[in-house]
């Protein structure tokens, strides 16, 4: 059964149509002015403040901690070590052991005897003021025995230096998807062997550098242990998951825990975590019986909040001579950092279904091996697994186009799923329900002025212009709407993927919508209101959306993975439909008509063939008074719904980027960026525009600017925004965004999700453009971020090779090959 069979996308005779309106976000005034409850704004009577003492070493055992001087410092209430907290502090768990034999080191919130990355908490100082806590933290004297640290992923694979000596290996787990094995396609090794004989084989190794999520609001936690329930306010994306994890690991019964995510200032996956800081604050507050607050500094975010990406991708693509793709083999090495985070080893696995993307490969195999190193832990960051996959395949398709000698758009069109072929089951085993790659590409091509820019590129090449132009293509898809629970179960993920909603019809005509999703800047309050206003025929202004408090919204799976609208929005819609169902017999009773003669239109129950009617708000009031209800009717029209999707949704789009490269300096400059995204039905175009713009900047930033770098001691060199070069509005241009629409068939409204699209699609578009600009100079790859130095050195190296004559574009997995890192020096600390 598909949902659309028994459910109409538009509410019956919807009024003016809130869905599709570019409404300004109702939450913005309070969010932007800061006149709201950010966690750090919360002050409780008698509240104490925490400061963390953190390990400066990447790898060490703790031999002793002397807190005597700190304990005597002004205002200090206590100093707690891991030893002091060990019975109640709980543990930071991973929800996704990707294999039954995954090696998972214990991740204690406050380390007891062993630290595995610089920045790990070794003691907690509690004082009357944050300043006193900070001062006293400097007085805690920790003796460490330093251990050798393993910092580089490829070094970690050798198992010579161990991140966790107890585990006996750095390898966490391996995971494979094989199309021959699961019956969704042929044998990839056969396809590659065949292509080696007369076909085309492209072998590449790409680096997904480490990124640092840079949400605007630093993480902050307040715990009030007084009263019957322990209450935790936290700047988190996942209040419900957090409550579960606290209950699962600290011994506190779940019913005694209330978690509140008040307004939360951004996350991008960076707050999709249960953090050591949350657990440490909880433990200390319980010990002292007093409310406690911890708010991190940005420097602490950088070393302690989880990082993103960090993979080596070894890729082999096979094709026929004419460019028809036949096979794709993916071998990943993924750096988990020091610990398996909540999604942890599952992040690379999330890419498994996406490397084949929109192309019709006959055979496919995905392998990942996950390793521990002595660096900050790694977890989901906007796109989680899918940006990595998209980057790899979109870079490879450009390389294939070069081999075949055709335009990169042409090679894609030759291989992608045609719009008449949907629904289409891919070689990875996913069923894409809808899409139209031709339409999105045609529109993007036109908005971009593709042919004119190609002509300009030719002119610049011919005149040997110091500034060269390159065009980059990315025809991406992604899987959104995490996730069908049974699929998560099959993957051994520790939770479901459903979402929940409740609608409460208040007596005075307003409506409370409770959602289990947990917005942190996306604008759910506005979008959910638009959906409900349409469905129930009530004014937008009369709808209030409540979220992020386990006491108000007791059930939820929170917000990440572009799931909130696709899964959570559908739950809201279904709750609204239940309200209408419950109200209908009461309306019939009030109208003295038979239920069969009553129909609901634009907020009013009417009697067919008459002008008699009663609004849903009037029914709500009548239900509240309860004076005149049909016999045996429960006096409530409130309703709950929980929605578990049958499939993912598959947004897609065509992104085109033009980059200028100053060949004298290696500086790059964006000329034009056009994207046409198919995200299904759009609830609010203004919110979508914001998501796309922000997403694009984040993806472009991976291509050009961002990268976490460690020195060979394991110290994060990019430990502040001076060195971690985050772009601002001044670094980007105005993007041209547009849409095509092929609605999802797995939810009523046909929505697909837009939270990650821009980030996933843009990175390869930018790098493809830069490589395209200088390919004639002998360059076929530049390691990200494509700093001017790297671009310039790639040109120098390329020119050198070109003059030697020989330059084979295909296989080069050799040590020191040009794709390894033409710039070297500025990459991973220890290995180069």
């Amino acid at each position: 059964m598909t949902i659309t069979e028994d459910r109409e996308a538009q509410a019956p005779d919807a009024p003016a149509g809130e869905v599709g309106k570019a409404r300004r976000r109702k939450e913005d005034q309070r969010l932007i002015t800061g006149r709201t409850r950010w966690t750090d704004n919360i002050q409780l009577p008698g509240m104490l403040h925490l400061a963390m003492v953190r390990s400066p070493f990447a790898h060490a055992t703790i031999s002793s901690i002397d807190a005597a001087e700190a304990k005597g410092a002004p205002g200090v209430i206590g100093v707690f070590t891991g030893e002091d907290l060990k019975d109640i502090q709980g543990v930071n768990i991973t929800a996704w052991p990707v294999s039954p034999d995954q090696k998972t080191p214990d991740h204690l919130p406050v380390a007891v005897s062993h630290v595995a990355h610089a920045g790990e908490i070794v003691a907690v100082v509690v004082a009357r003021s944050a300043a006193e806590a900070r001062d006293a933290a400097e007085l805690v004297d920790v003796d460490y025995d330093e251990l050798p640290a393993v910092l580089d992923l490829k070094e970690a694979a050798k198992d010579e230096v161990l991140a966790h000596p107890d585990l006996g290996t750095n390898k966490s787990a391996t995971w494979q998807l094989d199309s021959a094995g699961q019956g969704s396609g042929g044998d990839v090794d056969e396809a590659i062997a065949k292509a080696r004989d007369g076909g085309i084989v492209i072998e590449r190794e790409y680096r997904q550098q480490r990124l640092i999520p840079a949400f605007m609001e630093p993480r902050s936690t307040v715990v009030d242990p007084t009263g019957e329930q322990v209450t935790m306010w936290s700047a988190t994306q996942i209040p419900h998951v957090l409550r579960f994890c606290i209950a699962a690991t600290t011994g506190l019964p779940e019913s005694k825990i209330r978690v509140i995510a008040p307004d939360v200032g951004g996350g991008f996956g960076g707050k999709l975590q249960t953090t050591p800081e949350e657990f440490a604050t909880l433990a200390v507050a319980r010990k002292l019986g007093k409310p406690c607050k911890f708010t991190e500094t940005r420097s602490e975010t950088m070393v302690s909040g989880h990082h993103g990406r960090d993979q080596w991708q070894k890729l082999t693509l096979s094709a026929e001579k004419d460019g028809t793709v036949t096979g794709l083999k993916v071998e990943l090495m993924a750096d988990l950092g020091a610990y398996a985070a909540i999604v942890g080893g599952g992040v690379p696995v999330l890419g498994a279904w996406m490397f084949n993307s929109i192309y019709k490969f006959g055979a496919y195999q995905f392998n990942t091996t996950n390793y521990y190193t002595n660096k900050t832990w790694v977890d989901a960051y906007r796109g989680a697994g899918r940006p990595e996959a998209t980057y790899a395949i979109e870079r490879l398709m450009d390389e294939l186009a070069v081999e075949v000698g055709v335009d990169p758009l042409e090679i894609r069109e030759k291989n992608w799923i045609k719009h008449e072929e949907f629904p289409f089951t891919t070689v990875a085993g996913m069923t894409y329900d809808s899409g139209n790659y031709e339409a999105a590409t045609a529109k993007a091509r036109e908005l971009f002025g593709y042919d004119e820019l190609r002509a300009e590129q030719k002119r610049r090449r011919e005149s040997n212009d110091p500034v060269q132009l390159g065009l980059g293509v990315s025809t991406f898809t992604e899987m959104c709407g995490l996730a069908p629970s049974r699929i998560l179960g099959a993957l051994s993920y520790g939770a479901g993927g459903w979402e929940s909603a409740s609608i409460r019809m208040l007596a005075t005509g307003t409506v409370e919508v409770v959602t289990g999703t947990s917005p942190h800047g996306q604008g759910h309050e506005t979008a959910w209101s638009q959906i409900v206003a349409d469905r129930l025929g009530v004014p937008f202004e009369n709808v209030e959306v409540l979220h992020g408090d386990t006491q108000i919204a007791p059930k939820g799976m929170d917000s990440y993975g572009s799931r909130s609208l696709v899964v959570g929005g559908e739950a809201v819609l279904r709750a609204a439909d239940k309200v209408i169902e419950k109200a209908k017999p009461i309306a019939a009773h009030l109208l003295e008509a038979s239920v069969d003669d009553v129909e609901f239109k634009a907020g009013t129950f009417g009697v067919k063939g008459t002008d008699k009617g009663v609004t849903i708000s009037e029914v709500a009031l009548a239900t509240w008074t309860g004076h005149n209800l049909p016999d045996g009717t429960e006096p409530s029209i409130d309703a709950d719904a929980t929605f578990d999707p049958d499939n993912f949704s598959f947004p897609h789009g065509t992104h085109l980027c033009a980059m200028e490269v100053d060949t004298e300096t290696g500086a790059t400059k964006m000329r034009k960026y056009v994207c046409v995204d198919d995200i299904g039905t759009i609830i609010n175009p203004l919110i979508v525009e914001g998501q796309v713009h922000g997403g694009l900047v984040q993806g472009i930033a991976q291509a050009l600017w961002e990268g976490a770098e460690y020195d060979d001691q394991g110290t994060l060199v990019t430990g502040s925004f001076v060195d971690y070069t985050l772009p601002t509005a001044a670094d980007t241009i105005s993007f041209v965004t547009d849409h095509t629409t092929s609605p999802s068939t797995y939810n009523t409204l046909g929505t697909k999700g837009v939270g990650e699209a821009g980030t996933i699609a843009s990175t390869p578009a930018v790098v493809n453009a830069i490589v395209d600009a200088v390919r004639h100079l002998g360059v076929n790859d530049i390691v990200m971020p494509c700093t001017p130095e790297r671009v310039w050195k790639a040109i120098q190296a390329g020119a050198a090779v070109t003059t030697e004559g020989e330059r084979d574009a295909a296989p080069h997995f050799d040590e020191g090959a040009p794709n390894q890192d033409p710039a070297s020096g500025a990459s991973e600390g220890s290995d180069q």
Binding site: A130, A131, R134, D135, E138, T297, R298, S299, E664, T665, A667, L704, W705, E709, V717, T718, S720, V722, D723, T725, L726, P727, T728, A730, D731, T787, P788, E789, W792, K793, G825, A826
Partner: protein, 285 residues
């Protein structure tokens, strides 16, 4: 990001400020715009016992003219320098360089004096000050003052001729009226410190370069003046070819850092390209 506790004093005259410095010795730290000092305090890289705020001393503020010199008070903000017509007319290079510093908020707090005393080799004020032959007026104990040429002012990384107990009070710049000027700042993101910067100012006569001044940012532990290049440029036509050969050796003898933004060799290459561009732009070519 909470600094260690400190006492705060805000004198209203240079004499009082110098007296406060003498009183507190090496316990004291002077606060100008705070754009470098406050991050240092907040990251607890330094923990002075007393912070002496120069923000309430009128005599340290503003741009005035003194014959063939411009006089800029040490506490004059970047924004005030940018707004000064005298600076644009007589020291255009300073205007061009300061326009590239950080962002508007920082330009409204940061001061020219603070930047010079802070002496970050990647800072954008040192190279133009050097190229323009600025003189720095330093006040010491007991009302004494001394004047130091820019060339002698920068001693090393974050180290200048301003000694303990002393204050920088004025920057005196010989007028370069009618000189063309350009500052080439090379960065990866807009709010970044210079990876390399080149300050060039040129007096042109009938299409050729009569005099040139060139300063380099972040090509060593202090700002550098490229005297050999300045000389090589004299009498050259402002053409790409002529300037290219005159500036070819600009990186010789420099000792730039290697870091995430580029290694020393790359910086030397950049300096050569950027000097050509800066000189050509300054010459209006």
């Amino acid at each position: 990001m909470i600094p260690a506790q400190f006492d705060y004093v805000a004198p209203t005259s240079v004499a009082d400020a110098v007296a406060a410095l003498a009183e507190h010795g090496d316990e004291a730290k002077v606060l100008a715009g705070g754009q470098s000092l406050l991050p240092i305090l907040r990251m607890r890289l330094n923990a002075p016992g007393v912070v002496i705020d120069l923000g309430r001393i009128p005599e340290l503020q503003g741009v005035t003219e003194d014959g063939d010199h411009l006089v800029i008070g040490a506490m004059t903000t970047y924004a005030a320098v940018l707004a000064s017509e005298a600076v644009s007319a007589h020291a255009a290079l300073l205007n061009k360089a300061i326009a590239t510093v950080a962002d508007p908020q920082i330009r409204h707090r940061g001061t020219v004096g603070g930047a010079l005393v802070h002496a970050d080799p990647a800072g954008d004020v040192g190279a133009p000050a050097l190229a323009l032959g600025a003189e720095l007026v330093i006040a010491g104990s007991g009302g004494s003052t001394r004047t130091v040429a820019a060339e002698d002012f920068f001693e090393d990384l974050f180290t200048t001729a301003v000694g303990e107990g002393e204050l920088l009070t004025q920057i005196r710049i010989p007028k370069h009226t009618g000189w063309g000027a350009h500052y080439e700042k090379f960065v990866r993101v807009s709010h970044q410190w210079s990876i390399v910067g080149v300050a060039a100012t040129v007096r042109s006569e009938g299409g050729s370069i009569a005099e040139a001044r060139v300063g380099l940012t972040n090509m060593g532990s202090t700002p550098l003046r490229a005297r050999a290049v300045e000389e090589a440029l004299v009498g050259k036509q402002a053409t790409d070819e002529a300037v290219r050969s005159a500036v070819a050796s600009v990186a010789e003898g420099t000792n730039p850092p290697s870091d995430l933004n580029g290694d020393a060799d790359y910086r030397k290459h950049l300096a050569t390209v950027l000097t050509r561009r800066a000189v050509l732009a300054a010459a209006g070519a």
